[in-house]
């Protein structure tokens, strides 16, 4: 029995330790701002590229410090992020699939869609370039890949990048299917890695490519095509449709993204590490300026 007592005691101790520390972690850091919001929890549904490029690590702490909101960032593909908005499971969305966004706006699930920033998509592949796509336009490059049946790795996860890629295949009227077309069902970082290991081509956003470049032997083969603009919008989930939405928080976040200082932070982001900016701030522009 002696041992059972000591086991019992040690379990009790563990329970107490866990219980006390669990309470401890729930204490929220006091915001610097004096006007703490009534409902501090804000759910941001966004894309993996904003997280994987490191941009959110800069923006979110600044926003939290400024406003006292506590942001729950859910970094998923744009398709999933939009679906969360359509179900009222997020408060604010930062996404990059303009035509899909418009559909969500039309359904009335979101309001106040505003241009935040852009960068661009690029087509990358191994240097020996089996389908000879270097320097071609996007459409011709995709046609050449399909004609040659050269290995192409697709995100296959309904993300913004995936939607863009599917649109290109649709534009050139090619059914992307067959052993040469791999659907990875993975994030951008992972997809680049797969393309790298299998010597394939893939479509990527420039930010994630630059952030991953040190692990890759893939080169940029197609860039600068107007078609390849990667445009990010912020949208607030409609509080009239979903009563549980934190509408003040969503509004504060979208205002924060478009504020002058934030736009300057976005424009500067990446210059230290990569020698070039990963995003172009577009807060003062309209969709028309980008040719949408």
């Amino acid at each position: 029995m002696k041992f059972n007592k000591s086991l019992f005691l040690s379990i009790c101790m563990l329970v107490i330790v866990f219980a006390t520390t669990a309470c401890g972690t729930q204490k929220e850091a006091a915001p610097e701002s004096s006007k703490a919001p009534a409902d501090a929890n804000l759910i941001l549904a966004t894309t993996t590229s904003t997280q994987d490029s490191g941009l959110l690590d800069v923006l979110i702490p600044a926003f939290e410090k400024k406003t006292g909101y506590k942001v729950k960032t859910i970094a998923v593909g744009t398709g999933k992020a939009l679906a969360m908005g359509e179900k009222g499971e997020a408060d604010v969305l930062l996404v990059h699939a303009p035509s899909a966004e418009k559909k969500v706006m039309e359904s009335g699930s979101t309001i106040n869609r505003q241009l935040v920033m852009h960068n661009d998509f690029i087509v990358v592949g191994v240097a020996n370039d089996p389908a000879q796509i270097k320097g071609k336009t996007t459409d011709d490059a995709f046609k050449a890949i399909a004609a040659k049946q050269a290995l192409f790795v697709s995100r296959g996860d309904d993300s913004g990048t995936d939607k863009m890629e599917k649109q290109i295949w649709k534009d050139i009227k090619v059914a992307a299917d067959g052993p040469w077309y791999l659907s990875a069902g993975a994030g951008m970082g992972q997809t680049l890695k797969i393309a790298n290991e299998k010597n394939g081509y893939t479509l990527t956003d420039r930010a994630t490519y630059l952030a991953q470049k040190k692990n890759l032997s893939l080169d940029i083969l197609v860039e600068g095509d107007k078609k390849l603009l990667n445009i990010y919008h912020v949208m607030e989930v409609n509080p009239e449709k979903f009563n549980k939405v934190n509408k003040d928080g969503a509004k504060a976040f979208s205002e924060f993204l478009l504020a002058k200082e934030t736009q300057a932070m976005i424009a500067e982001f990446g210059k230290d590490e990569y020698g070039q900016a990963l995003f172009f701030a577009d807060g003062d522009k309209t969709d028309a300026d980008l040719g949408l």
């Binding site: 002696k2 041992f3 329970v15 866990f18 994987d52 690590d57 729950k72 499971e89 970082g189």
Partner: protein, 232 residues
């Protein structure tokens, strides 16, 4: 990947990175609490199941055996559907909190702990119980002695439960969301660092996870060993 870069990342993680230690601590709390809840309910239930005879017992046990391999992502999905804002328990605002992760991990650990406890008791020679009874033990005393006999297996149940949930990533990602400073645990942080292409950092975080898992197993193994010495 370069070995040197890994060592640098490991040193960085082990010596001065508060964020990683906060993530490690959250991992211990979430998985520890989930294991404790599972032990508190699952251990007595498994023991009761082993010591009681009733029709349909084999059927129940087959469900538990099945549940021992319950896919974490399915547990995550079910908890998500319950906790969504517009789900049945949406008013509790538990989605993307450590509590949601504890719920999902409890769902994963519970069948493992029930199953292992059941097996531990069943694997003790069944004649032993009759021997205790014939020696004049009351029924509850005989049961208690049987439980003591099975303690090695019962602690193995706890080890297996904790091992499974601390290693799990799918459910934690789904119901926790891998939110920095709130629900990021070692496994989800590893996935994210791989996504960012920081393989050295991912490996260093994995090393911390392995160290924690081993420390817990070491502690429990020590407890097992202590008990064994006492019998002799």
């Amino acid at each position: 990947m370069e070995m040197q870069a890994f060592w640098e990342a490991l040193q960085f993680v082990v010596t001065g990175n508060d964020e990683v230690w906060a993530i490690a601590w959250l991992t211990i709390q979430v998985s520890g609490i989930a294991t404790l809840i599972s032990v508190a309910i699952g251990l007595p239930f498994g023991i009761w199941l082993a010591l009681t005879d009733f029709p349909g017992k084999k059927l129940i046990y087959s469900f538990i055996n099945y549940g021992m391999g319950f896919p974490p992502v399915v547990a995550g999905l079910m908890i998500s559907l319950l906790l969504w804002r517009y789900g049945p328990l949406g008013n509790l605002s538990l989605m993307y909190t450590p509590t949601a992760m504890i719920l999902a991990q409890t769902m994963i650990a519970m069948p493992i702990i029930i199953g292992f406890s059941f097996t531990a008791i069943m694997s003790v020679n069944p004649l032993l119980r009759y021997q205790f009874l014939s020696l004049g033990a009351k029924k509850w005393q005989a049961d208690w002695l049987l439980i003591k006999e099975a303690r090695l297996g019962l602690l193995a149940a706890v080890i297996a439960g904790f091992g499974r949930v601390s290693a799990e990533v799918g459910a934690s990602m789904m119901v926790g969301g891998n939110i920095k400073g709130q629900t990021r645990v070692l496994t989800t942080a590893t996935v994210m660092e791989v996504g960012k292409g920081n393989y050295e950092m991912a490996l260093a975080i994995s090393a911390v996870l392995l160290m924690i898992a081993y420390s817990v197993v070491l502690l429990l193994t020590y407890l097992q060993h202590e008990r064994k010495r006492e019998i002799r």
